[in-house]
């Protein structure tokens, strides 16, 4: 068991991050922190992809480099996923600015109270 965890440390950290992110996303009443939680959750997934591509002692996939090679595909995928994540964060923060303008609060409960009064 300990052995397994020691050799799969990266995966362990990745899933720990996903857990922390999900907890923040659900548990925190603050909208900004929810978005941070969302980012942490996604970062966990990114790390999962990257660590899955790791090969001990391998070189980049260039013709001039000796084998074995690292697969470049997960890195490319995650570059795309990071761009997606940044756009999502931007849209989320834009929406939060509008919510704050409208309700004067970032806390879920207070926003709900103001909305119920309308």
């Amino acid at each position: 068991m300990i052995d397994l965890l020691a050799t799969r440390g990266y995966f362990l950290v990745a899933f720990l991050l996903m857990g922390v992110g999900t907890y923040m996303l659900i548990g925190s009443p603050n909208l900004i922190k929810k978005v941070i939680g969302m980012n942490v959750f996604q970062t966990g997934i990114f790390l999962f992809f990257i660590s899955s591509a790791f090969v001990q002692g391998a070189s980049p996939p260039l013709l001039s480099a000796p084998a074995p090679y690292v697969s470049p595909l997960p890195h490319v995928l995650i570059l795309t996923a990071i761009v997606v994540g940044v756009s999502l964060t931007a849209v989320a923060l834009g929406l939060i600015v509008r919510v704050y303008d409208e309700y004067g609060s970032l806390r879920e409960g207070e926003i709900r109270e103001v909305a119920a009064d309308e």
Binding site: Q42, F49, L77, V84, I96, Y103, A115
Partner: protein, 484 residues
């Protein structure tokens, strides 16, 4: 090799940029740009559909041959969905010219949504599907937020957070499948996953993550929480567009993932996987209807109705035979026309009379005969009264469930007709058999375009029903290929 599939994604993207640039020159110029783009899109999707039914059309992006590069694959099913996306987006445009929102930014995002949805329906690569899923999501969040006031912003934020979790689970599922096989091409994945073994925990986990991620996007109970707020909080044209297309294309993606990537053999090897789908379907149908009955606001009721109708489609996926899948496709198309039409009619009624709740609809037939008639017709079509398209879809799905001897599901599917009637009967009774309670202020602002689209949707719901059996025969080879 035809480059039409790639152009079908590129055209709305280009239109989106043009709409934004036109806004720099003159404001409120987005609509004509969007109209031209949507018309081109309908023509392109039509040509593609006519070719795809003869044989699968595929396109290799950038010359990187599959399975290494991204491949666009169009069969009868994808062509149907791509054509549906194009036609519905053109129809909603006709509605939104007067109903608004009218800014150029709105139409730029509108076309971006069309690009994302088209991309999702024709891609043959799972990661590419994730990217298009997120483009669709981002555009949908922005469109929901285009309404006025704090309500739409809150709805959009909720949609964004829940939707992102769903898409991230989908991405994690792709990661698992990729770790197991080292490929992302759907056709290649199906053979590689079979080689790895369908009972491997890694493959099973990949399936669970992909399916649950898509459940969020389809809005299957209990992962539907974002959907009623998003539909009710957005402007009428937006709720019609996203209710007709976004969940529909996500359900298409579910069919693709389950049958093209994992295949029927996976479902046979893992009864638990099938139970997951059956459970999602039954819970969605029952609770979606029950929640719909308890709503007072029309748009929220229609939203919960979607939860229940998509339960039927998920049920058809769980049944996994030819008849049920034809039913799922017919119901996807039919639901898009009927639900989009219902949202547009609700918008038209709200614009003309200010009625937004179930009680406001009392005696509507006297005040707005056209609106009440169209709403009634579409509601009955949704319940499944023959010869409307809602009947054909449900008929095929129920028949499929009986053929597969999936009795609990078959009972719930037949029951769903009654449940649908339960929430629409309240409105039908109020609209046609009660007198209007007190005079209400007449708000007018109905354009010929709005009326035209509503009438067209109501007629389409009936006409498509008559064509649906022929379409089912046309689709048979595609579905057979999907199931083999």
């Amino acid at each position: 090799m035809s480059s039409l599939p790639a152009l079908l994604v590129a055209a709305p993207l280009l239109g989106s940029v043009l709409a934004l640039l036109a806004g720099l020159v003159r404001s409120e110029t987005g609509w004509p740009v969007a109209l031209v783009t949507a018309a081109v899109q309908v023509a392109g999707a039509g040509v593609l559909a006519s070719r795809a039914f003869d044989g699968t059309v595929s396109y290799v992006v950038g010359g990187f041959t599959a399975p290494f590069g991204i491949e666009l694959v169009v069969d009868g099913l994808s062509a149907t969905i791509a054509l549906l996306v194009a036609v519905v987006s053109l129809a909603v445009l006709a509605y939104s010219r007067v109903a608004g929102p009218r800014t150029n930014a709105f139409y730029a995002v509108y076309l971006l949504l069309v690009a994302g949805l088209t991309g999702m329906s024709i891609t043959g690569d799972v990661f590419n599907m994730y990217v298009f899923l997120e483009i669709t999501g981002l555009a949908a969040y922005a469109l929901v937020a285009s309404g006025e006031g704090g309500r739409s912003a809150r709805a959009a934020l909720k949609y964004l957070i829940v939707g992102t979790v769903g898409a991230s689970l989908f991405l994690l599922g792709i990661g698992y499948a990729f770790v197991a096989t080292g490929t992302l091409n759907m056709a290649d994945l199906s053979t590689q996953l079979a080689a790895v073994g369908y009972t491997e925990p890694l493959v099973q986990a990949a399936f669970a993550l992909l399916v649950v991620g898509l459940f969020v996007k389809v809005a299957v109970f209990p992962l539907h929480a974002w959907q009623p707020d998003a539909y009710a909080g957005s402007p009428d044209s937006v709720s019609a567009l996203i209710s007709a297309l976004v969940s529909t294309v996500a359900a298409y993606a579910l069919i693709r993932i389950v049958f093209t990537v994992f295949t029927v053999d996976f479902l046979q090897a893992n009864p638990v996987a099938r139970s997951l789908l059956v459970a999602g379907a039954i819970v969605s149908i029952v609770f979606g209807s029950v929640l719909a009955v308890s709503q007072t606001e029309i748009k929220r009721m229609l939203a919960y109705s979607s939860v229940s109708q998509f339960g039927l489609v998920v049920g058809a996926v769980a049944v996994a035979n030819e008849t049920a899948l034809i039913g799922a496709t017919v119901h996807l198309v039919g639901h898009a026309v009927m639900k989009g039409g219902l949202f547009l009619t609700a918008g038209l009624i709200a614009t003309a009379t200010g009625a937004q709740t179930v009680d406001d609809y009392e005696g509507l037939i006297q005040r707005l005969p056209l609106g009440a008639g169209a709403f009634g017709l579409l509601a009955l079509a949704m319940v499944g009264v023959p010869p409307a398209v809602g009947f054909v879809g449900k008929w095929y799905i129920a028949l499929g469930a009986v053929e597969a001897a999936a009795w609990p599901l078959a009972v719930v599917i037949l029951l769903s007709t009654l449940l649908t009637l339960a929430y629409f009967a309240r409105i039908l009774e109020r609209m046609f058999f009660r007198d209007a309670s007190g005079e209400r202020v007449a708000v007018d602002g109905v354009s010929p375009g709005m009326t035209g689209v509503v009438v067209a949707a109501a007629l389409a719901a009936v006409v498509l029903g008559m064509l649906a059996f022929e379409y089912g025969q046309l689709l048979e080879p595609t579905v057979q290929a999907l199931l083999s």
